[in-house]
């Protein structure tokens, strides 16, 4: 990496013209990419912004409503059916959240929303203490607690139990209250997150869509916003392969497995890779529009095919891990290692082949 700055007015005109000639000749002979700053990528930015990022957060917010309703129902009618529905509502809310982790930047960090929603591990010692206290377990009380006492994993812990074997008879009255208020608090966070991005709220999405506009204070160019998308994909691929899968696998420690209580880890990991897929293809829940794929296709058809195949391979190999992730790290190490290798391969391709194309736009 070396910047060579040519100061044209210091060169004599002839040499400048000759150099130009050489450049033209080289361009004429080779198939070198011609940098084209005039290329407009608004359609990609608009589509990923509106139909992937915003749509995922909207889905998350809608699913959180159902989670609140199902936990309210469970508190009122403590039946096995309502428990099953509540657990499904948790999984359904978890899905768009995991599918948002390919674009985990902006308000989710800046406003400190992530810690309220997805802190892990759960502070079990303090949670027991809160449940055994006289504190009134309202939404506003839960709002005031630290992230390790609320959000997805606290709800998961209370709903599924430490060893995923909790029965309807195991719940206490306080736990039902806590669950409902905790879901209400989570819903507060999903609304805040959606409204931070939404044009009907703080409109952070406009930074993405209008990337390169003179007044855009975040992205000075469309390229920088496109880079952000790809770096976001790389970041989550890295986290899945080298964090979420690697830590429990290498240390043989189930306490390091993130969604163990619900046995949802494989689904979490696959949804993380789907978030890469959604941004890459520019599609979420059947929407149509341009993604990063259209850009890569125009530069390198084979690479585009390769990325898509590797995404599918990664998802498939995660889903093919034998049994639960908890048992597989002991009993089917090769299937876990295979999934890890596939995700690493995808990360490698994104990092060493896709990102350079975007960075050189």
């Amino acid at each position: 990496m070396n910047f060579k700055l040519y100061k044209i007015n210091d060169m004599n005109l002839d040499r400048f013209l000759a150099a130009l000639l050489v450049i033209f000749l080289l361009l004429g002979c080779g198939k070198d990419e011609v940098n084209s700053n005039s290329q407009d990528y608004s359609d990609i930015l608009e589509n990923i912004g509106n139909n992937v990022i915003l749509a995922t957060y909207e889905e998350l917010d809608l699913k959180a409503v159902i989670l609140v309703n199902s936990l309210t129902l469970l508190e009122n009618e403590k039946t096995q059916d309502n428990l099953i529905n509540a657990r499904q509502a948790w999984r359904d809310t978890r899905q768009p959240w995991e599918q948002s982790e390919g674009f985990l930047y902006g308000p989710v960090d800046q406003k400190g929303i992530d810690p309220s929603m997805d802190s892990w591990p759960v502070n079990q010692t303090d949670l027991d203490a809160v449940l055994n206290s006289n504190a009134e377990l309202t939404k506003s009380y839960i709002d005031g607690l630290d992230g390790t006492l609320k959000g997805f994993h606290t709800i998961e812990y209370l709903l599924f139990g430490l060893n995923s074997d909790k029965q309807i008879g195991d719940f206490t009255e306080r736990q039902y209250q806590y669950l409902k208020s905790c879901a209400e608090s989570l819903k507060g966070s999903t609304s805040e997150l959606f409204l931070s991005w939404s044009p009907s709220g703080d409109n952070y999405i406009s930074n993405v869509i209008s990337a390169g506009d003179e007044n855009n204070s975040v992205y000075p160019s469309q390229k920088s916003a496109l880079e952000e998308f790809v770096v976001g994909m790389i970041t989550i691929a890295d986290e899945v392969a080298n964090g979420k899968i690697n830590d429990p696998l290498v240390q043989k420690n189930v306490n390091l497995e993130e969604s163990r209580f619900s046995q949802n880890s494989k689904k979490d990991f696959a949804d993380n890779i789907r978030s890469i897929q959604n941004a890459y293809l520019g599609k979420y829940k059947g929407s149509e529009g341009k993604g990063i794929n259209s850009l890569i296709l125009s530069k390198d058809e084979n690479l585009n095919k390769k990325v898509q195949e590797e995404i599918i391979e990664a998802i498939k190999s995660i889903e093919n891990i034998e049994g639960s992730f908890t048992s597989a790290i002991f009993n089917s190490v090769s299937s876990v290692e295979n999934a890890q290798a596939k995700v690493r391969q995808l990360q490698q391709t994104l990092e060493s082949e896709v990102l350079p194309i975007v960075s050189n736009l």
């Binding site: 910047f3 930047y105 880079e227």
Partner: protein, 456 residues
């Protein structure tokens, strides 16, 4: 004819490649602010990228250390990440160093995020450091495990300074007056309070690798050269070497090494004991726990987390060819800003991390203490640093502050300045003359200087 033309073009094109025609503007020699660690790009997660020059092995370690930086701690007993508190400020490194950048200023008093308060009694302890407040220590822990009381709450009111530039344009500076209340034990109004906002964490390994003599070269505590700018080294206690050493890290250079800075943050901010700080932060206070789990974290974790900060990349400058940016940089020099925000250093060759060695870096700091005047004073001494003095903070990456941290990510030690312009206008003391010169610039010159800073 063709042959002839091609020959000419060939010869001329060779000539055009000789060195005399490759022009690198000396103004732009600092494009790679972090030397070979520098990273290119323009995106929100820019502060979270590994250095460019890591070996494969180092990169693997970096990715592992990234997890340590994100790890959330919980109350003991726990099978995982145990030992938080009993009193604390936050539960993970990332909670304060948001996306590895400056903490956004809190939007409400219930969640202070990366804002904390150093406290002490007037006087100094036996090592010359801040004198702990009885029952509170040297930092106010504003959170606590369930069943324990936080040491206190904090709120603030505002004061405003309105002024004019000589050209008639008006400016307004907003300051906060902080108040500690609802403390778990009586609080003396004479206690000293120093608000601090969590700073970015990249580039710290490079700053640690600058040879001590290079830093001391610019120290001029008695202002012998009579330029109005002193530059004083802080000399602080090293808990690892059991001796006094040059302070480099923290808003007042109160920590001599990154590992001590890291262990200190685990200790005071999260309430985690380590081999460096084996006693609870609330030792001898009424709320100390009676668990025998100390040290709660081991030296290995200290080293891994330290490695994370060491192995992050420093972003390169952007748009450095812009005329306005070039003008701004010239003004930055002309106004003598670089007397303290010293541009260049070369790191030594003694680090056991080869990627940090022999790097020409442009941190825009001298790592020395300077009197910044009444406006910025916290009136709380820290070793050699008196109540008016602050360590010059690095400026590299400062242009990404709001891109990374959002609109509430502000400037200066307590996050009072919402813009770079306000940050400049808060300068006083040794920087008074430079600030006055800034005010005397035309509006377009002032804008150029801001543009330059945004470009770092």
């Amino acid at each position: 004819m063709h042959k002839y033309l091609i020959l000419i073009i060939f010869v001329l094109s060779l000539a055009s490649c000789t060195n005399e025609d490759v022009y690198i503007d000396p103004l732009d020699e600092d494009v790679y602010l972090g030397g070979e660690t520098s990273i290119e790009g323009f995106f929100i997660n820019i502060f979270q990228q590994p250095a460019s020059n890591l070996s494969q092995e180092e990169l693997t370690l970096h990715l592992k250390s990234d997890q340590a930086f994100a790890d959330i701690f919980v109350s003991a007993p726990s099978t995982h990440n145990s030992g938080l508190g009993p009193v604390f400020n936050q539960v993970s490194c990332e909670h304060c160093h948001v996306a590895n950048g400056r903490s956004p200023f809190p939007s409400n008093t219930d969640n202070l995020r990366g804002l904390l308060f150093r406290i002490s009694k007037p006087g100094e302890d036996e090592m010359g450091g801040p004198l702990a407040v009885d029952n509170f220590g040297t930092q106010l822990q504003t959170k606590a495990n369930f069943g324990i009381e936080a040491e206190g709450k904090v709120d603030w009111s505002y004061s405003y300074i309105v002024g004019n530039y000589p050209d008639g344009n008006e400016f307004m500076l907003k300051n906060r007056i902080f108040r500690i209340y609802d403390t778990y034990m009586p609080w003396e109004f004479t206690n000293l309070i120093s608000p601090r906002i969590a700073p970015p964490v990249f580039g710290l390994g490079l700053l640690e690798a600058i040879p001590e003599e290079q830093i001391l070269l610019y120290a001029d505590p008695e202002d012998i050269d009579n330029d109005g700018i002193s530059g004083k080294a802080n000399i602080v206690w090293s808990v690892t070497d059991h001796t006094f050493k040059l302070g480099r890290f923290g808003w007042k250079a109160g920590q001599p090494s990154l590992i001590q800075q890291t262990a200190g943050a685990y200790h005071q901010d999260m309430g985690l004991t380590s081999p460096l700080f084996p006693k609870e932060s609330c030792e001898n206070q009424t709320q100390a726990d009676d668990y025998s789990d100390d040290p709660e974290i081991d030296l290995e974790l200290m080293k891994i987390t330290t490695f994370y900060a060491q192995s992050l990349g420093v972003p390169i400058r952007r748009n450095f060819e812009d005329d306005q940016v070039k003008e701004g940089k010239k003004l930055f020099r002309k106004l003598n800003c670089n007397a303290c925000h010293r541009e260049a250093f070369v790191t030594g060759d003694q680090s056991d991390k080869p990627f940090l060695n022999n790097q020409k870096i442009f941190p825009y700091t001298d790592l020395l203490l300077h009197d910044m005047g009444d406006g910025l004073a916290d009136f709380r001494p820290e070793f050699v640093a008196n109540g008016y003095e602050w360590r010059t903070p690095p400026l590299w990456g400062i242009g990404f502050t709001k891109i990374v941290g959002g609109e509430n990510a502000n400037y200066l030690h307590d996050g009072r300045a919402t813009t770079l312009e306000e940050a400049i206008l808060w300068h006083g003391g040794e920087a008074e003359e430079s600030k006055q010169s800034f005010k005397n610039l035309t509006k377009s010159e002032r804008n150029a200087m801001i543009k330059f800073l945004e470009n770092l």
